[in-house]
Symmetry: C2
Subunit: 317 residues, 2 copies
Amino acid sequence: MTGTVPTKITIEAAHALVKPFIHHTPIATSSFLNDHCEAELFFKCENLQKIGAFKARGGLNAVLSLSEEQLKNGVTTHSSGNHAQAIAFAAAKVGAKCYIVMPDNSPRVKISAVEGYGAEITFCKNTPEERQRTVDEIIANTGATFIHPFNNYEVIAGQATASKELIDDVGVALDVIIAPVGGGGLLSGTALSAQYFSPGTKVYAGEPEGAADAVLSFRSDKIEKAPYINTIADGLLTYLGDKTFPIIKAGVTDILTVSDEEIIQAMRYLWERMKLVVEPSGAVSLAAVLKNKEVFKGKKVGIIISGGNVDLGKLPF
Amino acid sequence: MTGTVPTKITIEAAHALVKPFIHHTPIATSSFLNDHCEAELFFKCENLQKIGAFKARGGLNAVLSLSEEQLKNGVTTHSSGNHAQAIAFAAAKVGAKCYIVMPDNSPRVKISAVEGYGAEITFCKNTPEERQRTVDEIIANTGATFIHPFNNYEVIAGQATASKELIDDVGVALDVIIAPVGGGGLLSGTALSAQYFSPGTKVYAGEPEGAADAVLSFRSDKIEKAPYINTIADGLLTYLGDKTFPIIKAGVTDILTVSDEEIIQAMRYLWERMKLVVEPSGAVSLAAVLKNKEVFKGKKVGIIISGGNVDLGKLPF
């Protein structure tokens, strides 16, 4: 594992490493949404990625970057969401043991998905302390390598490959790329890829009002927690890390917040107009564009649709 | 308009004609479904097509094939579904007047979609006689050209471009392509494209048990109506036409019927596993593959997902 911010060459290497295992996801467009926003929108469909989210990229790059010696002892992480699936998926690809710590109230569908990749699940109480204690115990017993969901340079380099592909494929010079922000793995990767592969492109982020830590941190110039957590975008609840924050601070133009109502409206457009199953977190970037038309008017805008893992029995419309 | 079965050159010309106006839809794959079926499946995502269905192709080719003289008087059709949108969309692209006859009980969402393309809607009672009478009246008053939803060689040539693209893009020799069958526009186009562009590829069809006219016609060698109509796949209710039936009879290996329950299960896989919004008719091909694993085992199978126009408020799961 490297201890430095991913370089252009690191990200190119990450792309070469993960390519054989991921979907080269398509870029979708919508005349309706272009007209509606008076802009040209290019949607990078990471909801169509393996495991249903961009996290497959970072998880794979982190696992594939480990030495044979490290892989022998397996990998571990705590997550109830897409990162758990990503690490389980990546470990299965290289035949490594995988230990996932999940809160004991995790939805059955998420447990099954992780089990489906052959990972060993340990349940614990749903507190940060319990999760960490359980992971520490696993590491002590097995020697497994812990892979953080975002505060890890291999993970960041992996997530960066999504916007690298977007830039490579889109065929126009993008004025802007916008990505959602939770812990900042995707956003920091997006900022790096824009800087290296499309230097004229500005990077924005969309963030739920009900988990507005990144915008606060961005303004105050230090990592802050959200004043309150209350949002449908359950993939974006965490706060930034000491590896993601400086990259975001240096490479992101602005962070735009959106309400749950605005997220659901954006989701509805993506489902009804573009026929894409997108989870609330995945619709946050479009919601931010719809809310701030004056910022994006007349521009060529890359929009990262981050994931599509949503319970069909609990749709907000 | 031509009076003969589309040739290889006709379909290539149709593709060149419609290309600037359509989405070049992606081919999606799913390791889960490959494992589940013990086959290699390649999904042509026509749910991501303009207007949300392959019908944009046939509608465009038919409208773009008209003379300037004909276009001056506009185009007309009767449909409450995707064909209405396709013709309205195509007419808007060439700036022609468009008269759509819709049953007076059509869902509001479908009416809005057609209105959105600037078409003039005439409502009538929902009987075949009334629809035909209303269209005849429009033709008498305006001189508009009637474009049949499937029994029209330009429409067939347009629909054929979907599997032409699939064959061009897939990068392997397909053993089979499977498409849903209603009136047979898509299926006859698929049969022709396979014959011309991938002669080793067999063509199958999926059909709902609750609208099983095509399988009957295929067996008895004459056009038959369904013994009863009762299916969730509302895009596949019509029976074959005298232009589509002979092409299907000559070029299709078999027609496989599926129950609504099987259609809904296939839909669920497409939504949950592949993150694609697919309408019931669009899931019929996959349902047929899932039901007949022994037919497709070990094969490379192209599956046409025909459309994604579904009311999010009325999902079957």
